[in-house]
Structure formats: C-alpha cells, structure tokens
C-alpha cells in the first residue's frame, strides 16, 4: 500500500536520507530500525509530507502523494505520530482525541463519543477528563497513539511510541499495537526497543547514515553483519563470529 522509491533529502552537506526505496504490504506490522541519527524520523517526515524530498517518489494506495501537504496525506488515510509527543496541552484527553475523530465526523457529539471509544482501545478511558499536560510520559504516548487512531488511518506511522516507557508499560502497549493491526490498520513503526521489534514486527528495514543497509524478518536482520557493525562498530561482526566459532 506504500511504495517509496529513490527518496532523498539533504540538509546542507548532510545526506539525511539517500536513495531509500521500500514497499509495504497491507495488514502488517513492519518496522524501521537503525542507530540514532540514521534518518528514520526524517524518512517518516518525507513520507507523511512534513518535508519535501529533493528526489524520489512516495505513492500511497496506488496514488502519487509526493510533495502533498501533511493534512491532505492524513485525509487519504496515512496518519503519523511524533517521537517528541505534542499533546494539545490545554485540552483534556477526550478533547485531544476528538480532534482526530473530527476528521471523519463533523458533529461535536459524535466526535466526543468516538474519542471515548478510542480511549478504551488504548487504555486511556479512566483519564478522559484529565488535562493532557497532566499525563505521565506513558500516558502521553498512549494519547499520541489514540489521537492518530481516532483519525481512522489505513496506515499508521508510529515514531518511537515505546521510547521512555518502562518494561511494564512496554508489555502493556504491545497488545494494544497488535490489536490495532488486527483491526485492519497497517503499521509502520520506528523503534529502538528491540523486544518490541522482535515481538511485533513481521518485516524490518535497517537505516544507517540515511541509506537502507538491510531488510528482512527481524531475525534475519539481527544476524546481518552490516547491521551488527552499524550498531556496534566496524569489525564487531567478525569478532562475534570468531568468538562463536571458538566457543
């Protein structure tokens, strides 16, 4: 449902994203991993219209969406979250989620009712009347997810929704994300928490210095020499192999 081909953007001399191509099938949870500064969030920004690529194309549901503004892309069914959560701080949880619900619901009453239903799906239903600014980090991450979900996406781009959560909170979130996929929403997630990637993701792309260096199932990717070197430094893969052989 999502086709990215030859996507590139440079910031001055820095090639933040360089010739990235990937193709995402419907109904899956896929992930994008890579060391810090690899260009993952930049790639998300390019796909969702927050940045315009210097070269390359993005097509979604068979239509070219390259260079379209973010709100138009959202209306076509691709909704993203932000790594640094940006709740509408002065508003309650219910009102925050309702902003997403309003995308397909003109009536205030319908949007607020729908917001409640979405809150239940992500486990925020007991905090509906709290101000967004009073939520914990875990609560804000859930809110970010709920708002995006309320907009009725076909493709959900999740930018590190698990970062900053403790193991308990992470294991609470995993079934939520799986349930979203089971509800018919395709998920592409940027994630550092490998437990989540291994657990949820059916297919993974690895980005390093703005380029894709590997792709495959999480198990395949985590045994890829280039990936190990990207994370742990040059020569590590060889050393690990030697040690494994020696042991």
């Amino acid at each position: 449902m999502l086709e990215v081909s030859g996507l590139s953007i440079h910031f001055g001399g820095l090639k933040a994203v360089e010739e990235v191509s990937l193709s995402l099938g419907e109904g899956k949870i896929c992930s994008l991993i890579g060391p810090n500064g690899a260009g993952k969030s930049t790639l998300f920004a390019l796909i969702s219209g927050f940045l315009k690529p210097a070269r390359g194309r993005v097509s979604f549901l068979g239509e070219d969406i390259t260079g379209m503004p973010p709100h138009v892309i959202c209306r076509r069914g691709m909704v993203r979250t932000f790594q640094i959560v940006q709740p509408f701080a002065a508003q309650t949880v219910r009102e925050n989620i309702a902003v997403g619900s309003h995308l397909h619901r003109a009536s205030r009453r319908a949007a607020l009712a729908h917001a409640e239903e979405v809150a239940r799906r992500v486990g925020l239903d007991n905090q509906l009347d709290k101000l967004a600014s009073s939520l914990t980090i875990a609560g804000r991450k859930r809110l970010e997810l709920a708002r995006a979900l309320a907009a009725g996406p076909r493709l959900l781009l999740l930018d590190e929704v698990l970062a900053g959560l403790n193991p308990q909170e992470i294991s609470e979130m995993l079934p939520v994300i799986r349930a979203i996929r089971d509800g018919g929403v395709t998920v592409l997630m940027i994630e550092h928490v490998m437990q989540a990637v291994m657990n949820l993701s059916e297919y993974t792309w690895v980005l390093n210095h703005g380029r894709l260096i590997a792709e495959g199932t999480p198990a395949e990717v985590s045994n890829n020499a280039q990936v190990i070197e990207a994370y742990l430094g040059r020569g590590t893969a060889e050393r690990l192999l030697r040690e494994a052989a020696g042991a």
Binding site: P69, F88, T92, V99, S107, L131, A150
Partner: protein, 318 residues
C-alpha cells in the same frame, strides 16, 4: 447540545436580558454611556479573543480591522450617500477582506508569536499613514458624519438605542465564540493553537483554519468600528488605526482570561470599573489614572496569567 454549552447559553441569555432591561430603570445618560462603552470594549475583546485566545495568534494591530470598518462606514455615508445600516454589512465584509489579506500574508509565510504581532502592528501603521495622506479618507482632518438623528439612520436620540445595537453586536460575538467551543472548526482551531504540527498530522488544514479565524475576528472588529463612527460621528486616522484601539482589543481578554467565552466580558467590565474609579478618584491630576490602570494591568498579567476566569476554574475547560 451538551450541558456545558446549554449553561453558557443560559448565562448569555441572562446577561442579555439584564442589560436590555437597564434603560427601563436607569435614565442617566452618564451611566448608560459607561455600559455602552463597556459592551463596546467587550465586543472588540471578544473579536480579538477569537483569533488570539482560540487561535493562539496574538495580534497587536487589530486597529487595522477596526479602522477599516470605521472608515468604510464613514466614507460610504459621506462620499457616496449610503444609509448607515447599508454601510454596516459592507464595512464588515471589508474588515473580513483586510483580515484575509493580513492572514494570507502572515500565515502563508508561517509567521507566529511576536513576528505575527509585529506584522499586524505594521499593517495598522501603514493603514494609518495611508488614511492620513489620501484625500479619500479626509486625510489628517478626518471625516465627520452629518448629524441626522433617527433610528433609520443608525443615529439614536437616546443612548438606549445605541445600547441595544452594541448589545446585539457583542452577543453575536459571544455566540460565535460559544460555537467555537462546541464545534469541529473550534476544535481544529484550538488544536492548531496548541501544536500546529500535531494538528496537521491529524488532517487539520492549519492555514485555512487560522485564516477563517482571522476573518471572523476582523469582521467583528470592523463592526465595532462602524459602531464607533455612529456613536461619535467622527473618525480620524489616529483614532481609527492608532495603537489605542489595538491595545483596547487585547486588554479585555487578557485581563478576563483568554481563550474563554466569558473572559472578554468580565475583563471589559473590570477594566471599565477600574477606569471609571481611578478617573473619578484621581481626576484632578491627569495621567495618574492611567498609571494606576497600567499598574493594575502589570499586576494582573504577572499574578493572574489566566485572567479573572482563572479564579473560577482550575482548568481552562473545567
């Protein structure tokens, strides 16, 4: 409609009835004039609040809309012989058009915060200089509306007539604000205020939402300009496009509580009460009343950032 909206509506109705009944009991022109000027400040404040409080775009040049409305009414009557009532919608439309111009230029180029404030101030100044220069607006001399007292002429013999007109305008502004609090457009506007990026990611056309907000705000402010001209029969560039109006527009909501329905009303009443008190108590030494006024304002902004409404509610939506 939800219960909170019904409560707001009931409060507005009560307020309207109370004010409308005033001329039955009060015959003092002095007192009625205070009420009229308070409502007028509430109208300008509510208009500013729609853009500043709900849209988060702090304008420091709302005089540009006020002056446009005032001059439109004056020029249409003096130079083209229009009836004042016919000039009112034309002036409102012109106010919205100028707002569309200012909004398109500022929002298209992503001006926010102090940059937006400065651009609106610059627009007001440019309009002031233009109005001061061209023959069309009577230049520096200003324009005088010929005195033809009759309700059909939007010139009332008694203050009660003006009271009803300004009450109707202020109520219209309040009803629009009530709609903002309970509609999709209002939700989008407040989302864009709190985080433009998040709003865009949820499908909100941030540019369009802000543009509509500034047009509503400009139209209402222009109505205030028309009222001013009809009430005082005179307009000049300094009154129309000067800093005084721009400040008056933002004072009431800031004192009363921005982004709330009743903030601008409360703020206008508090300010006029203070204003009249300081003027009466310290009327002998000109300037002192303004200093006291300024001091109160500084104290309010530093200790009550959410205005008078902040006392009543813990959260902005409680």
């Amino acid at each position: 409609m939800n219960p909170a909206a019904l409560k707001d509506l009931a409060a507005l109705a009560l307020f309207a009835v109370a004010v409308a009944a005033l001329p039955l009991f009060v015959s003092s022109g002095f007192l009625l004039n205070i009420v009229i000027m308070t409502l007028y400040a509430a109208l300008l404040g509510q208009a500013w609040n729609i853009l500043g409080g709900f849209g988060g775009q702090f304008s420091f040049g709302h005089a540009v809309f006020f002056g446009t409305g005032a001059y439109a009414a004056a020029v249409l009557q003096v130079k083209f012989g229009w009836n004042a009532w016919a000039a009112l919608p034309a002036a409102i439309a012109l106010g919205a058009a100028v707002a569309a111009l200012v909004g398109t230029l500022s929002f298209r180029y992503g001006l926010r915060g102090s940059y937006f404030a400065l651009v609106t101030l610059a627009f007001a100044e440019v309009f002031r200089i233009l109005a001061n220069t061209v023959e069309f607006t009577g230049a520096g001399v200003g324009l005088m509306i010929p005195l033809k007292e009759s309700a059909a002429n939007f010139q009332f013999a008694s203050p009660a007539g003006f009271l009803y007109v300004i009450l109707a305008m202020t109520l219209a502004a309040c009803l629009i604000t009530l709609w903002l609090k309970n509609s999709r457009f209002g939700a989008w506007l407040q989302a864009a205020r709190d985080s433009e990026e998040s709003a865009a990611a949820l499908g909100v056309n941030v540019f369009r939402v802000k543009l509509v907000a500034i047009m509503i705000s400009g139209a209402l402010t222009a109505a205030g300009g028309v009222f001013y001209v009809q009430y005082f029969h005179y307009i000049d560039p300094h009154i129309a496009y000067g800093l005084g109006i721009s400040t008056e527009a933002l004072l009431a909501p800031i004192v009363g509580g921005i982004g709330t329905l009743f903030g601008p009303l409360l703020g206008a009443f508090a300010l006029h009460l203070f204003g009249e008190l300081t003027r009466n108590l310290m009327g002998d030494s000109p300037g002192i009343s303004l200093m006291v006024y300024g001091l109160i304002l500084v104290l309010m902004v530093s200790f009550m950032p959410r205005g008078i409404m902040g006392i009543f509610s813990r959260g902005p939506h409680a």
